[in-house]
Each structure stands twice: as structure tokens, then as C-alpha cells.
Amino acid sequence: MSPSSWKSRLFRHETLLLLVLVAEWVFFYHYGTTTNRRGVVVGFGTLDRQFDILRHSCEIGLLALALTPVILTAGIDLSVGSLLGLCAILFGKLWHDGGLPVPFAAGLTLLIGAVAGGLNAGLITGLRLPPLIVTLGTYSLFRGLAEAITHGAITYTDFPAGFLFFGQERWLGLPTQAWLFAAVALGVWLLVHRSVFGRSFRAAGYAPEGARYAGLPVERRVALVYILAGVIAALAAIIYTARLGQAKADAGTGYELFAITAVVLGGTSIFGGSGSVTGTLLGVAAIAVLKSGLATLPAVIRLNAAEEIAGLLTGALLLFALAAGPLLRRLTTLLPRRSRSPQAR
């Protein structure tokens, strides 16, 4: 059984990304770990720092997982970051002002996420509006609603310790939210790679008309990915609130762009059809390690510009990852034909 060419190409992209991730890790371990005056090891090479990276990547990671099926259908959802903010303050309001117990409020928040995702889905599949425009609209709408509800000033705090456990404590040795994240990642992986739904996402992404002619319910499938994105964004909002212990209207500002970057870095084609959940996870990790690692470099600390350099390097990494594919292909076409043909026997 010979691996098909697209499979091996995907494999190569993920391998490449894994190598980048390992290189980042080794680099920061080497240059970002120091011993302070009291002889305590600080910086990148500590378990605390590693857990910190994990905690911080959960929310953007969840959004990236939400966006992977969306982008597979050749769509986009710019509203997930704003929806995170809206869900965070609605969750806070339901618990604080509504007096609902936390599990109840959380459940309702997930439902709100589904409804918000359903709004995107309805506009995109019902009215056939372009996803970019629809979610650009709801991107402003959701954030605006969040600001309006809080008047831009209210922050909900004083959540019970049992709730903060999900964002600040450990369970079975790992940060609690990492387990939630892993569960969602497994779920999305099963959906995308092992179910007929994932198959139809790809078909719709490659050729929506072709999928329709094959009798696939393209509209319903596409609607599903946006609704799912809404639910996952709501879950990210709850975890975010649990990590910071507060819910405010500007939660998750700009997260959608980091999430899209992670998905594309992970090898998912922005034109739809091809991509993988594993790639997305590697993309999230590569960005998270880069951001967190830079903050541990003495040179960067002295400059006090970790954020800026992280942005710069993330951009460079993304462009490199995007250019690598076409460049490799161009190189292989320059080589003798023999090297491109599938296995001889």
C-alpha cells in the first residue's frame, strides 16, 4: 500500500513543523534557562513555565480547533475572538447577576455559543453570503454587544474556588484545562478524520458543486462547522474566565488572528479541502512556545519587547511555512522526473 502523494505531502508538512517546534524548544531551553542569585533555576527550562505555556495556549488552541473544520470547508470565522468576549461576560452575568450556579451558567453559555454560531451559519448557508463578510460583521457585533452589556466597565470577579480549579489548578499532574483541551482536540480529530462529516467538509471545501452533485447536504454540513465553532468559542470563554478569575468584555481580543495563523501554519489550506487537526495542534504549539520562550531570553528581557518580537517572528514563521510548500514543489520539478514518480513497484 503506497501512501498517496497528498498524504505524503501532508506528512512532510507536519514533520517539518514538528522539527521547527523541537528546534524552538531546544533553543529556548538552552538560552532561556538561567539560575538566579539565590541559585534557583528560572526561565524556560522549568516545569512551571512549561505548564504556563500549556495554560496560555488552551484558549487560542480551542479557537484554532474550532477553525480547522471551518477552513476545511473553504470558509473562515473571524468572529470567534469576539464571541469569546461576549460569552465570557454573559457567563459572568448569568452567574453573578442571574444567580445561577456555575455549571448551569456554563451550560447556558455553551448554548449561547451555539446560537451565535448558528447566526453565522444561517447567514452563510441560508443567504449564501460570503463567510468573510458575515463573520467580519458578527466580529464587530459580538464585541459590541459585550461592551454594551458591561458599559465597557464592569468586570465579573470572585468566582468560587471550585470553578477556578479549571483554570488555575492541576489535575492528574497537568493543568486542568489541558485535559479539557485534549478532550476537545480528540473530538475534533475524530470528527474531521474519522467521520463522514469530515469527509463532506473536505468535499465541500474542494468543490462545493461537486459535493452537491454527489448528493451531500453541503449547506447542513457547512452550517454545522460554524455552530460547532460557536460552542467551542464559548468553552474557550469559560476556561479563559477560570484562568484569570475574571470575565470582561475585551476577553479574547485578537485571538481569532492567532488561531487562524496556527491553523494555516499547521498546513490547512485556506482554500479549503486539505488540512489536519494534528497540523493545527503543532501550529498552536509552535506559536505558543515561540511567544513564551522569547519572554525568557535575557536579551529580549533587557529590550522589554517580547510581544513585538514574538509578533514579528510569528509572521515570519507563517510566511516561511506557506512559501515552503510551493518552493519545495518548484525544486522537485527542477529535479529529474524520476524522483517525482510514485514507487516503481
Binding site: 467521520s195 469527509r199 474542494y206 452537491r212 452533485y213
Partner: protein, 515 residues
């Protein structure tokens, strides 16, 4: 090089305006033109006639300089041209009016005319007064009561065509090519178009007139050249020695005499009626009052010209553009077919015409394409089962003889014929009762074509009701037990198998024929 080289036309007219000699043109491996001769005299309406795919469009593209011929000679007004480009063609006075006018919809009529006709540098003042005046003059000349200030998007299709003609007149075109100009016109609009054509003719303009409507050709043309399979099979004057060319002669020229006996003999005996349509129509797609029956084990051919409504009927049966009138019965039961999903569930399968866009998904592996329509049956519970998928795919690869390096390779890596087999296999996997094939052998090589024919025969023998849509007349005649002929969105004739090609073509063209 001089005009005296050219043989003088019989009626002693001066050298022709346009002369195409032994033009050949291939696209990939397909030979669209294999040595066409064509000649246009000043003040002449010369009709160009031929079946779908006979090479008319390619010939126009060569004459307007859009495509360079592979070989042959183009002579314009006595001058042999080594190479014709669209710009040069325009300068030399060749204008082409397409079925779909290529005007800017958001600009006014005057602006559209100005853009095409005004000369001068990039930086110059627009003289709006002159522009408007030119536009009104040209529009008056072609007898169009159109306001020059109107936006083109507000104009009807025939009005837009008139703007195009005005443009050709304004450019001082000596040769005007009209590609099915009346396809979207009403009777009255046709008459006024004819008046314009005759007026141009009186001014010495040569007109190449392409149309499927024989009555127009007889009303308008001086001569007619018939193309068949990329060759010019004859040029005839419409009226000679007081006698009019007969329609029958013209049709015989179009279809040729011999229908090659390349087709496998029919082995099946039609059984029960599987699909029956009674006055079925769909306003949106223009299908009207179609009544037909297809039996198990029967191949019903559907012949007709492009735009006759055959694909539209297929889309109706597959639930893509559902019927809004009439009754559809499957195995005697009245059914509705409102979506492909419903049609599939009822046992209807449709192998679409546009293989690369609709028939297969090029980027997906062969096995995934083959199972795309049977997810529910193959993957109960919704979870993929690689083993089941692989064995189904391998079964079809063997049964249909799909030549590939393995089931996990993308369909895009296959040849056209093998892609078509994948498209066919996907639908056979649904175990249909009715199989609709839309141009199943278009763009596939000869070998794959006869394999596909053999497969279709085999399927009919196994009891499938097959509807075969094809513009390849010999294919329809050779494969079908009965032949339905469509024209203008409806079934105009049902002919028995073995009907002569000219009779079928006559029905498709609307020249009596049929019962």
C-alpha cells in the same frame, strides 16, 4: 500574393473579403479543425452550419485572431496574413457579435461605444457631447431606439446585441461575424435584426451568420457552408438557377451518411416501465411538458442541440432543479424529487456532463470519490471504515477497468476516460434503478469511449433503465433502443432505434420529422 492567384468565384465577383484555406487547429490531442476552407465575399451573408462540436466556434476564434491556427492560410482583402491577432483583426475590420454581448454592464451605452471606438492617447479629455452624438448616430443607423445615456445593465439581451452591432458599424467593420444572434430574440426582434443585417449587406459588409435555425438561414443567407467533425463538407448557394437548396440536402450534409457500426449490439429486452414522466416541467430551467417512459433494461437516447433542455431535464430528475408541474412515477408510484438526496434514495443516479467540476472531486482519492454517494450505507453510524471503503473501491476499479496506481491516488491524476469511470462507479455503487448519463464520452479517448459503451450495454443487460444524453449523434443512434429528441425544453419526438441520422437531426432542428 496578388489577388489573381485566388480562383475567381463562379459569379465573377472580385476577390473575397476573407478567405480561410486548409485551416487546422488542435487542442491537446483533440483535432477541432482538420482542414477547413471558407470564403466570404463583400455584401454576402454566408451561413455557417454544423452539429455541436463540428468546429464552428473554433473557426470563429481563428477568424477573429483569438486563437492561432496550427496550419493553413488566412487571406484578408487579398492580403495573406502570417499571423492574425485580435487587435489586428479589429483594425482590419473584423467584428464579432457573440451570443452573450461583452459590454460593461455598469457603463452607459455611449461610454461603451466610446471605449471601443474612440482613438487617442491614454491622457485625453473626454468630449461627452461628441461621444453622445456618435452613439445616437450609430444607434439610429442600426435602427435601435436605445437611449445612449442608458446603463447597459438595463438593456435587454437583444438591445445589447444591437449595441454591439452599432459598435461594429462604428468601427467600420467590413466583416461581421454573428454567433447565434437570434438565440434569445423574440419574433419581432428577429425581424428588426434581419433588417439591420440586410442594411449592412447593402453597404457591402460581409456577414458570417451562425445559426441552428434553418428557416433563418433560408431567409437570410446567400450561401451556406457546412462543417462536420472539423472539416468543411461543402459550400452551397441557397438559391441557384431559380431553385432553392432543399432542407433535406442540408441536413444530410450536416450529419453525413454513414453511421459507423462501432457499437456493441443490444442484448437486453426491455422489461417493466421504471420511470414515467407525465407533462413534467420546471419554469426555472425551461423544461416544459415532457412525457416519456423508460423501461428496465432499456437505453433511451436523448438527442438535441445544445440548449435543447436535455441537461435541464436530467437535473430535474436528479432533484437539482425540482419539477414544478406534471407527475413523475417510479415503478408505478408517484414520487417527488426535490433534492439529490431524495433522488438517490429513490434509485436515480446522474453522471453529470461536466466531469471535472461535478462528476468527481479531483483532489480527493479515487476510493473517496467512489464512496461519496453511499456514505449512509457504507458507514452506518457515521464513522469511516477504511476496510469497507477500500474493498468497495477495489471492486469498482476491477469491474470498470479503471487504470490507476492505486485507490488512494487523487482522481485528478487519472486520464479523462478513467475519471469518467470513477464518476460512473460512484453512481453504480448506489445500486440505482435509473441511470442518467450526460455526455458520458465527451473528452475521452477512443479506447475509453468504447469501454464505456460496453459498460453501458452491460448495465442495461443487468436491468438498469438508462437515459443516455449525448451530442454525439452516432453514439445516440448506435447505443439507444429508442431515441427521444428534445428541442426548446420539451420532447418533440420519440423515434425507434435504428432511425436514420438525418431524421433525428431534422427533428432536433424543428423541421417536421418524427411522429
Amino acid at each position: 500574393m496578388s489577388a489573381s492567384d485566388a480562383p475567381t468565384p463562379a459569379h465573377g465577383a472580385p476577390a473575397p473579403l476573407l478567405k480561410l484555406e486548409r485551416i487546422t487547429k488542435s487542442y491537446g490531442g483533440v483535432r477541432a479543425l482538420r482542414g477547413v476552407d471558407f470564403e466570404l465575399a463583400a455584401g454576402e451573408v454566408h451561413a455557417l452550419l454544423g452539429e455541436n462540436g463540428a468546429g464552428k466556434s473554433t473557426l470563429i476564434k481563428v477568424a477573429t485572431g483569438a486563437h492561432a491556427p496550427d496550419s493553413g492560410r488566412i487571406t484578408l482583402g487579398g492580403r495573406t496574413l502570417p499571423a492574425l491577432t485580435p487587435v489586428l483583426a479589429q483594425e482590419l475590420g473584423i467584428a464579432c457579435i457573440y451570443q452573450q454581448p461583452a459590454l460593461f454592464p455598469d457603463l452607459s451605452v455611449a461610454e461603451n461605444l466610446g471605449l471601443r471606438l474612440e482613438r487617442g492617447g491614454r491622457c485625453r479629455r473626454i468630449r461627452w457631447g461628441e461621444r453622445r452624438e456618435l452613439a445616437s448616430r450609430l444607434l439610429a443607423r442600426v435602427g435601435a431606439g436605445i437611449d445612449p445615456a442608458a446603463e447597459v445593465r438595463e438593456l435587454s439581451m437583444p438591445e445589447q446585441q444591437l449595441v454591439e452591432i452599432a459598435c461594429a458599424v462604428g468601427a467600420g467593420a467590413q466583416i461581421v461575424i454573428m454567433d447565434e444572434p437570434t438565440a434569445s430574440l423574440t419574433r419581432r426582434e428577429q425581424e428588426s435584426l434581419f433588417a439591420v443585417v440586410r442594411d449592412l449587406q447593402a453597404h457591402g459588409v460581409g456577414i458570417v451568420y451562425i445559426s441552428h435555425r434553418l428557416e433563418e438561414i433560408f431567409a437570410l443567407a446567400d450561401r451556406v457552408t457546412v462543417l462536420r467533425d472539423g472539416e468543411s463538407v461543402g459550400t452551397r448557394p441557397i438559391r441557384e438557377h431559380g431553385q432553392t437548396l432543399s432542407e433535406a440536402d442540408l441536413i444530410r450534409l450536416m450529419v453525413g451518411r454513414e453511421v459507423a457500426r462501432l457499437y456493441p449490439p443490444a442484448e437486453s429486452v426491455p422489461g417493466e416501465v421504471v420511470l414515467a414522466l407525465q407533462d413534467v416541467g420546471c419554469r426555472a430551467s425551461g423544461v416544459r411538458q415532457v412525457s416519456l417512459e423508460v423501461r428496465a433494461g432499456e437505453i433511451l437516447g436523448l438527442a438535441g442541440l445544445v440548449g435543447a433542455g436535455r441537461t435541464e431535464l436530467a437535473r430535474l430528475l436528479f432533484g437539482l432543479t425540482p419539477a414544478d408541474s406534471g407527475q413523475i412515477r417510479l415503478n408505478g408510484q408517484a414520487v417527488t424529487l426535490r433534492s439529490p438526496r431524495e433522488a438517490i434514495a429513490r434509485g436515480i443516479a446522474y453522471v453529470p456532463e461536466d466531469r471535472r467540476r461535478h462528476g468527481v472531486i479531483l483532489e480527493l482519492p479515487i476510493e473517496q470519490n467512489l464512496t461519496l454517494a453511499v456514505h449512509r450505507r457504507l458507514f452506518p453510524g457515521g464513522w469511516l471504515r477504511d476496510g469497507a471503503e477500500r474493498s468497495l473501491a477495489e471492486g469498482f476499479i476491477e469491474r470498470l477497468g479503471i487504470k490507476c496506481a492505486g485507490p488512494s491516488h487523487p482522481v485528478g491524476t487519472l486520464s479523462g476516460g478513467n475519471q469518467q469511470k470513477v464518476s460512473l462507479g460512484r453512481w453504480l455503487a448506489t445500486q440505482p434503478k435509473v441511470l442518467i448519463l450526460d455526455e458520458p464520452t465527451q473528452g475521452v479517448d477512443v479506447g475509453a469511449k468504447s469501454e464505456i459503451h460496453r459498460i453501458i450495454r452491460q448495465l442495461a443487460k443487468e436491468g438498469l433503465a438508462v437515459i443516455l444524453i449525448s451530442s454525439d449523434l452516432p453514439e445516440v443512434l448506435g447505443m439507444s433502443g429508442r431515441i427521444g429528441v428534445m428541442r426548446g425544453g420539451t420532447l418533440v419526438a420519440t423515434l425507434p432505434g435504428g432511425t436514420e441520422a438525418p431524421v433525428v437531426m431534422a427533428a432536433a432542428l424543428g423541421q417536421g420529422g418524427g411522429k
